[in-house]
Each structure stands twice: as C-alpha cells, then as structure tokens.
C-alpha cells in the first residue's frame, strides 16, 4: 500500500468517526421510531390503547375499510376517504395559494436594494419566531364569529349577521396559507435572487410580451425554487395537525388529526401507525413523481 492510499484510508476512517454522532442521532431519532411505527402497524390494538403483540393486518385494512358492527362484513370507509380527500385538496390549494401570493412577494424582495432586502426578509421570517399555536389562535381571533373581522364588518353595517368562517375548510386553508407562506417565499426568493434580470430585457427585445416573459423566461428559470417551495409547503400541509384542529373545529379533520384520534380516544394504535406509514409512503411517492415530471418538463420544452 502506497503512502497516498494509506493517507486516504486514514481520511476515510476519521470522516466516519467525525460523522458518527450525527449518524447515531439519525439512527435513534429517525430510523428507530419509524421502525417502531412500522412494527406497531402490524399488531393488534390493546383495550386501553397501546398494542398487543399479536400479528394482525386489521390496522392496514382499517385505512380504507370498516367492519360492520352487526355482520362483520367489510365496507368502504366513506368517512376516511372524505378525510383523505380533504387533506389532499387543502394541501394542494395551500401550495397553489402560497405560490400565487409568494411569487410576487419574493420578486418584490429580490428586486429591492440589498439593505432593504434584509429588512423585508426579516419581516417574512418573523412568524417563524412565534409559536405555531399562538399564530393559529391569532387567526382564530380574527375570523371567529365574535372576532375582529366580523365585529368590524357588522359595526360598518356591511353584514347583518357574522360571516361564519371559523370551523370551515376555508378557515383551515386560510390558516395553513398564512403559516406556510414563508416556506414558499424563501426558496422562491433564493431562486429569483440568482435570476439574471438582464434576461428580461432580452425577452422584451425579442418580441415577448410581459406575460410571455413571465411564462417563457422567468418561470422556467426559477423552477427549482418553485419545486422546493411547493415541496416545503405541501408536505407539512398534508400532515398538518394544529391548524385544522384550531380553525377547522373537531369535524373538519385532516389526516394529522385522524392519526392523533387513533392514538387518543380511538385507542387503535395499529390503525394510527398504518395511517402514519401510508402518509409517509404517499408523500414520498408524490415527491418522486413531482420531481421527475418537473425535471422532464425542463428539457423537452420548446
């Protein structure tokens, strides 16, 4: 073995040694719990929560089907499907709205002088320093029947009775859009910041209208930022728990609340575990398809 190989081997050893703490934490804090959840999903529910160590597929079956109380036949669980559909719909809408609101915002910030830019970015990130629960209750305070919005509207004589927003899907959507907006703005800002503004003039010079410049020049080039922002918003939206709980009331559940229900009042840990695994798999699959499709779209454009 040459001296060089020797040195390289030593480098590799020390690299492993240095990353060992991180690897250990990842193993214990990420892979470990995941494994437990995966195992639990194949066990039977205990009477007072927890699990009994008896193999069963009921947890997985319970995602889509319910047993009839009287004759034990399997029926499609409409309530579950409604929850899944609501989760996907609200998450997609949240992603779409944060993009529509976030893109002009990110563009505005990226085109400010450097000093002003830092200020605007600071404003965008302020909500991050505030507890999610407090922010969500703040929204609640604004939109509830006796809240700020309705009080002002009634005082102004615009409404006779308060507009019921709270405990609707719209309220959940509003809350999630507010909460996740920075996650869309920041990656978009990073992408627009790298965008060469001289390309705008090149576009206009070559007969593109403002709309065409946006569609044919700006959007394709900042696409990595759009993809990153969409993922960062869509993934936590799909698993959202606090926002639908506080703003959607008990009825307008999303997957996150549904999972919590299984571990709490439902006392069906295997079903909760199976739902968690399903959510994980669906998110991974969706991401994979989305990233693949987005990359393909970039090459064959024209």
């Amino acid at each position: 073995m040459s001296l060089e190989d020797d040195a390289r081997a030593r480098n590799v050893r020390s690299a492993w040694a240095l990353s060992a703490p991180a690897l250990l934490i990842l193993l214990l804090a990420a892979a470990g719990p995941l494994l437990i959840v995966a195992v639990y999903s194949f066990l039977s529910p205990g009477k007072y929560g927890n699990v009994e160590w008896v193999f069963s597929l009921d947890g997985w079956r319970g995602i889509l089907f319910t047993k009839d109380i009287f004759d034990d036949t399997l029926k499609l669980a409409d309530a579950h499907l409604t929850i899944f559909w609501r989760s996907v719909k609200l998450s997609l809408l949240t992603t779409g709205i944060t993009f529509l609101v976030g893109f002009p915002t990110a563009w505005f910030i990226a085109t400010r002088p450097p000093r002003a830019r830092a200020f605007w970015l600071f404003l965008i990130t302020i909500p991050f320093w505030t507890n999610l629960l407090i922010r969500t209750f703040a929204i609640n305070e604004v939109i509830r029947n006796e809240g700020l919005f309705n009080t002002v509207m009634i005082k102004l004589g615009l409404f006779d009775t308060p507009l019921r927003i709270i405990n609707t899907d719209a309220a959940v959507l509003m809350g999630m859009t507010y909460v996740y907006l920075p996650l869309m703005v920041l990656p978009l800002f990073a992408a627009i910041d790298r965008f060469d503004m001289r390309l705008l003039e090149a576009g206009y010079d070559l007969y593109a209208s403002r709309w065409q410049v946006l569609r044919r020049v700006i959007l394709p080039i900042v696409k990595p930022g759009i993809i990153a922002g969409s993922i960062l918003v869509f993934v936590p939206s799909l698993g959202a728990y606090v926002t639908p709980r506080v703003l959607g009331g008990g009825k307008n559940m999303m997957i996150g609340n549904f999972i919590e229900l299984q571990f709490g009042q439902g006392r069906n840990w295997p079903l909760g575990a199976a739902l968690s695994m399903t959510l994980l798999i669906v998110v991974m699959a969706a991401l994979l398809i989305y990233v693949r499709a987005a990359n393909k779209g970039g090459n064959g454009h024209g």
Binding site: D205, L206, G302
Partner: protein, 353 residues
C-alpha cells in the same frame, strides 16, 4: 439625403436621470440620423451616453424629451417588444434554460411564426454564424466567442430593421475580438441590416464602421467617416480620443499659424477667424529634417514597427514623432541632441475650440 434612406433617427433626444438639481443628463439634446444598411458606430468613453442612446433606440428607456424615429415613424412610445429592432447585449443575455437553437428561434416564436419556419430560420442563422453543430447544446456549454455568435444569430433571426450591438466584443480576448470584428463586418454586408454598434475601442470603430459618431458628456461631438474623424477632428476631445496626437498652441496669421517658438506653420485649410488656437498633428505626420522647427530629443521608445521620439520645442511644448523603423532597428538618435522637425503637408489641423 432623402427621408427614405434614414433607418433610425434621434431628434433632440434628452435623457436625464434623477430629479431636480441632482438630475444628470446622460443624453443632452442628441440628434443623429443613421442611414439604411450602414455600419454606424457610437464611440466614446464610458459614461458618455452612448449606451443610453442605444437603449432609447431599443426602447428600454424612454427619452425625457425628444423623439426616436424608425423609417420616419415616431416610435418613441413603442415598447421594446413592438419595435422591429433587436439587440446584442454586452453580457449576451442568452436564455440558460433553452438550447442554442431555441435561443436563436425565440424571437420568431414570440412573433407567433409557425414551428417549421422558426426551426428552419434558426438553422439558417446558426449556419450564418458557423455554429450548426452546436444547435442542441445548452448555452452554458459554449465558449465566450460561441455565446457571442449565438447572441448575434438570435438578434438577427427575426430580421430586424436595425441591429443594436452594445459593446459585444468587450468580453472577448484580443485574438477572438479581431476574428469577431471581421465576422461582424461580413454579417453586416451579407444581411444588409443597419448596424448600430457601441464601443469605447477607437480601433474597433475605425476598422469596422461606415460612419462614426463620437460622443462625450452626453453630446455627439462629431459624425463622419472613419478617415474624416481621424484626419479632421473638430475638437480637442475627438482628436485625443481617437489615436494619439500632438497639440500645439498657436496664433493665426492669415493662411499660416505662428507657434509659441516663433516658427510659422502653413495651413492648407485656414479658418476665417483669427486669434489663438490649438493646432493638432498626428505623430506619424511629424518628420525629422535638416531644417525646420528646432527641437531637442527628450527620449524615445522602440515599438518594433516604429519608434516614438519625444521632442521638446524651444518654448517647452512637447511633440511626439513616430518614425518608421529601419531594417536594423537603430535610430541613430542621441538624447539631448538638437534636431529639426517638419509636418507633412496638409497634416496640421486647426481645432474648433
């Protein structure tokens, strides 16, 4: 010159940046007529307003006052995407997400031309700039010179009435720049499109242009063919910006001028006014002679093809003479030696200011 021969015209164009007292006039009442099919160069130091004038023509800026006319039509308020004028940018500004061919076809595509025509024209334009083989590459895979050619092809593809070139060669190394100068001239002749070329490089301007507009401090100082600009500069700025030159203070006396040393210099084209003036004469038009204006040799620098001899006249005025080298390269000069110099007939110009 008939109106129909003018491709683009600026009429009393003023462009001020900033407000009130802090306003800076980047363009100060500029009027210029650029003829159809000519290679017109705007030449001047950075900050002279040449790029601003180009941007007014392209439509990226609108004039504070004045008009821009294309083929006699007022286009002052037309946005850039509705002007049949294309630009080759200094930074090339190629679209990084498109292939070379898609870049070239972009303008035609935006004009709504059918796909087949866009592709056909893109191919033809790439052949024109000799980059057919690169059609499907990403622009980031090209060298600087190749990117330059793509930018040219892209701007030429929609067949603009006027092609604007904003210092397109400044980012290239010397050898490539020389090649592109020839290439640009060839393209201009082949396509017959009016070129408006902006540069601060006087040699580029002299070798490529049909006419040059020399700019300084937001104003056009002189417009003319390269030879006119070089041999008959109208003022001190033009004389010193283009090539090297000598300035000699003198007093007009009829058809001659008396230098500070007392020597009389014959003028071929004497002005009607009188008084003190500045004469200019190019170094290559200064000869050492048996008799003439007395001078002492201060120093000299050997350049290979010629030698620059720095001379001091009796009144202290410095004159540089450029002497062609002989086969041995020896000058036979001695520092501090007394010599005489003469100016070639017709070489002495009286400056306007």
């Amino acid at each position: 010159m008939g109106v129909s021969e003018i491709a683009i015209e600026a009429r009393n164009a003023v462009k001020a940046f900033g407000q009130g007292a802090a306003a800076v006039r980047a363009l100060d009442d500029v009027s210029v007529q650029i003829r159809k099919g000519e290679f017109f160069t705007l030449l001047g130091p950075s900050g002279c307003g040449k790029t601003t004038l180009l941007r007014l023509i392209a439509g990226f800026e609108s004039p504070t006052s004045g008009q821009i006319l294309l083929d006699g039509q007022d286009i002052t308020n037309l946005p850039p995407n509705r002007r049949p004028v294309n630009t080759v940018f200094q930074s090339y500004a190629l679209f990084p997400h498109l292939t070379v061919a898609q870049n070239v076809g972009f303008g035609l595509q935006m004009q709504g031309k059918p796909k087949a025509e866009v592709e056909e024209t893109a191919r033809r334009m790439l052949a024109l700039v000799r980059l057919e083989a690169m059609a499907d590459r990403k622009t980031s895979q090209l060298s600087g010179g190749q990117q330059q050619r793509v930018a040219l092809a892209r701007a030429l593809a929609p067949k603009p009435k006027v092609l604007l070139l904003d210092e397109p060669l400044s980012a290239l190394d010397l050898k490539l720049r020389k090649e592109m100068q020839v290439e640009l001239k060839r393209l201009q002749t082949e396509t017959g499109i009016t070129f408006v070329f902006v540069t601060h490089d006087q040699e580029e301007a002299l070798t490529m242009s049909d006419r040059i507009g020399v700019m300084s401090a937001g104003k056009i100082q002189q417009i003319g063919a390269p030879r006119d600009i070089y041999t008959r500069p109208v003022n001190r700025f033009v004389a010193s910006f283009i090539g090297e030159t000598n300035f000699l203070p003198a007093t007009l006396q009829g058809a001659a001028a008396r230098l500070g040393t007392g020597d009389l210099v014959e003028l071929t084209d004497p002005p009607t006014r009188s008084g003190t003036v500045t004469l200019t004469v190019r170094p290559e038009q200064v000869r050492l002679a048996e008799s003439g204006i007395a001078a002492t040799i201060a120093s000299w620098v050997y350049f290979g093809t010629d030698t620059h001899v720095h001379l001091a006249l009796r009144d202290g005025t410095e004159v540089v003479a450029r002497l062609q080298s002989n086969p041995s390269g020896e000058t036979g000069l001695t520092q501090g030696a007394e010599v005489h110099l003469r100016f070639a007939p017709g070489a002495v110009q009286v400056l306007g200011d």
